[in-house]
């Protein structure tokens, strides 16, 4: 049984989860209104993972994510204004509007995307860990990916390299049960992911991804071990997305009942209930947080609306470091 957080800590966790939830709900709305285009992959239901796990990382640690990364960017400290502007494709966005929903970058916060090739960023994480190791830096590279990535060769190549060279890399698997519409059992011969990971000779643990406290506690323990020189580790967060894979998804692959069942374990109300029961938080705290988040969000939308389109004359910038191709 993990120790419950104190009031300040709990307020932080709740605030972050609410920020993600409300931000994404608004994104869905803005998508329907045509303000956000392209793919939009929502994290709703999985907020406890990014919220808890990222608290275990220091500001110098690097973070690589998938295309379902709005929550990670917000928790990591990328201002909501810049994230929303990026969703709109405005040049005030955190990637100058060039990336959009799937490619949120912020070098200052060491957020290396927003990577939209499943498992494609795992080798990058290995290399970043290698660079840190060779330079003698005590940093950890945390690489988040979905359970779908485990079927990719790059997962196995990366796990092997990181273990072989004892690199400071956290392989953080967000297992929400479905790779788009394919359930884990329909794509993996071995559904116990920690068993696969352990075969590379690295620590592998599984944690309830709907429990923000457990996520934080387990992640902290494993990150501390990596930082202490223990080499890479694997952690599985068992979670569930409440919404479709992306906006354009009829969800033919799962029952409404299944979704409803998981909704009962919604990480936000369940955390709030525990905190109220422990006399750490109150309903008023939530109301207060909701009000603040609503304010932040409306400012972010206004910021994005007021943002500007990059001139077409600049189309080919940032292809090479020097201008021109």
């Amino acid at each position: 049984m993990t120790a419950l957080p104190g009031r300040g800590h709990a307020l932080h966790l709740l605030t972050q989860m609410v920020r993600i939830r409300r931000f994404e709900e608004r994104c869905a709305e803005l998508y329907s209104a045509g303000k956000i285009r392209g793919f939009l992959h929502l994290y709703i239901g999985e907020e406890a993972v990014a919220t808890g796990a990222l608290r275990a990382l220091g500001p110098d640690d690097a973070l690589l994510c998938t295309y379902r990364e709005h929550g990670h960017a917000l928790v990591r400290g990328v201002p909501m204004n810049k994230v929303m502007a990026e969703m709109f494709g405005k040049q005030e966005g955190c990637s100058r509007g060039r990336g959009g929903s799937m490619h949120l970058f912020d070098a200052e916060h060491r957020l290396y995307g927003g990577n939209a090739i499943v498992a494609g960023h795992l080798p990058l994480a290995v290399g970043m860990g290698l660079g840190d190791q060779m330079a003698g830096r005590q940093r950890v590279t945390a690489c988040f990916f979905g359970e779908g990535a485990i079927a990719e060769g790059e997962f196995h190549e990366s796990m092997n390299l990181a273990a072989l060279w004892k690199l400071p890399v956290l392989f953080a698997c967000e297992n929400n049960g479905y790779a788009m519409g394919t359930a884990l059992a329909r794509s993996e011969s071995q559904t116990a992911l920690t068993v696969k990971a352990a075969s590379y000779g690295m620590p592998a643990v599984s944690v309830d991804g709907m429990d923000v406290v457990a996520v934080e506690t387990e992640t902290r323990a494993i990150v501390d071990a990596i930082r202490a020189g223990g080499g890479p580790a694997f952690i599985e967060y068992k979670t569930y997305r409440f919404r479709a894979h992306s906006m354009f998804d009829a969800e033919l692959y799962r029952d409404k009942a299944e979704v409803d069942e998981h909704r009962k374990r919604d990480p936000i109300p369940s955390f709030l209930r525990r905190m109220i029961a422990a006399n750490t938080l109150t309903e008023e705290d939530l109301a207060h947080i909701e009000a603040k988040v609503a304010e932040e969000l409306s400012e972010a939308v206004a910021f994005a609306e007021a943002g500007t389109w990059e001139p077409i004359e600049e189309l080919t910038r940032d292809v090479y470091t020097e201008v021109g191709a």
Partner: protein, 326 residues
């Protein structure tokens, strides 16, 4: 001035760069204990140690991606992919990551990785070890693609690539490693912006690079004996390509023959030809001709292998044709 092989020139650059900058390291299959499949890194493991001459498992995507990742955190990795054929296993990393990260991040990160690979046919290695995929990589914005044809470029371009802030792919033609050439003392720095006029001429421009330069130069010498003055362009940098030099030469000779080992259809030579047609059309006195790979996976027997890649005689014939001589 001393005479060195292409392989030694590559090794010179590896040693010089690793002595000059501790962020430089070499990574790839069998680069260490084995000494490199083409022996470019022979002896370097003893000199620089296992951390910097890093043998990798057979995981092209994994270690090429790791090179990109290391570059993201300030290292200067040189990743050796044994042959361009194996690099197809790492295309995802090179194209989806190395070439895009700067742009996707709005210019916040850059990827100073250098990826070396051998390319080309001529050693009877058959259809999975002999191809020329320059066209794949030159197709991709965000990559710089080099094709050294001389010992000076083999050394100089690798050093220049390490100084470049963007991902650079270097094609080393496997037929060149034993080639000897003069290395001036001190060895000169080279640029990554210009094509080189390897031979001046006035009647026809022969445009080539890398492994085809020798045969093209031979062709030019043979043409000279027939009274035809062929200009030979060694493109050197395939992307971004120095189109000005190409157009200037065509404006002088009014005729162009492109020599490239890759397949003709949709290939590197196709792009060069198209650009000349687009931007130097009014300079032309004859249709552009290409001497390129025949549309077949490279076969094993030497006579068929040679028949599938450009030969000196074909270059001569193409040049004579565009010049209008019999």
């Amino acid at each position: 001035m001393s005479e060195v092989t292409f392989r030694e020139a590559v090794r010179m650059a590896l040693r010089e760069s690793m002595h000059a900058d501790e962020r430089v390291f070499l990574m790839g299959e069998d680069v260490g204990r084995y000494g490199g499949s083409y022996a470019c890194s022979m002896g370097l493991l003893e000199e620089f140690g296992e951390a910097r001459i890093r043998d990798t498992p057979l995981s092209e995507s994994g270690f090429v991606g790791a090179g990109i990742g290391a570059a993201l955190v300030g290292m200067k990795p040189i990743v050796e992919v044994m042959t361009v054929n194996f690099s197809l296993l790492a295309l995802d990393q090179i194209i989806n990551n190395a070439a895009t990260l700067r742009h996707m991040s709005g210019g916040q990160v850059n990827v100073p990785v250098v990826i070396r690979m051998s390319t080309g046919a001529g050693k009877q290695l058959a259809a999975q070890h002999s191809h020329s995929w320059e066209a794949f990589y030159t197709h991709v914005p965000g990559l710089k693609v080099l094709s050294p044809a001389t010992v000076v470029d083999a050394r100089g371009m690798l050093l220049a690539a390490l100084d470049d802030p963007d991902p650079v792919v270097i094609f080393e033609h496997s037929g060149l490693y034993n080639m000897k050439g003069e290395m001036p003392e001190p060895p000169p720095a080279v640029d990554l912006t210009h094509a080189r006029v390897a031979r001046e001429g006035t009647d026809v421009t022969l445009i080539t690079h890398g492994g085809c330069l020798r045969r093209t130069t031979e062709a030019a010498a043979a043409l000279a004996e027939r009274g035809i003055s062929a200009e030979v362009l060694d493109l050197r940098v395939l992307r971004p390509l120095d189109w000005n030099t190409v157009f200037e030469s065509v404006a002088k000779t009014h005729r162009a023959v492109i020599v490239d080992e890759g397949w003709k259809s949709w290939g590197f030579s196709a792009e060069v030809s198209a650009r000349i047609a687009e931007d130097a059309f009014w300079m032309l006195d004859a249709p552009v001709r290409r001497v390129a790979g025949v549309e077949v996976p490279i076969p094993y027997p030497t006579h068929l292998e040679q028949a599938s890649i450009p030969q000196t005689a074909q270059v001569i014939a193409a040049a004579l044709e565009v010049v209008g001589h019999g």
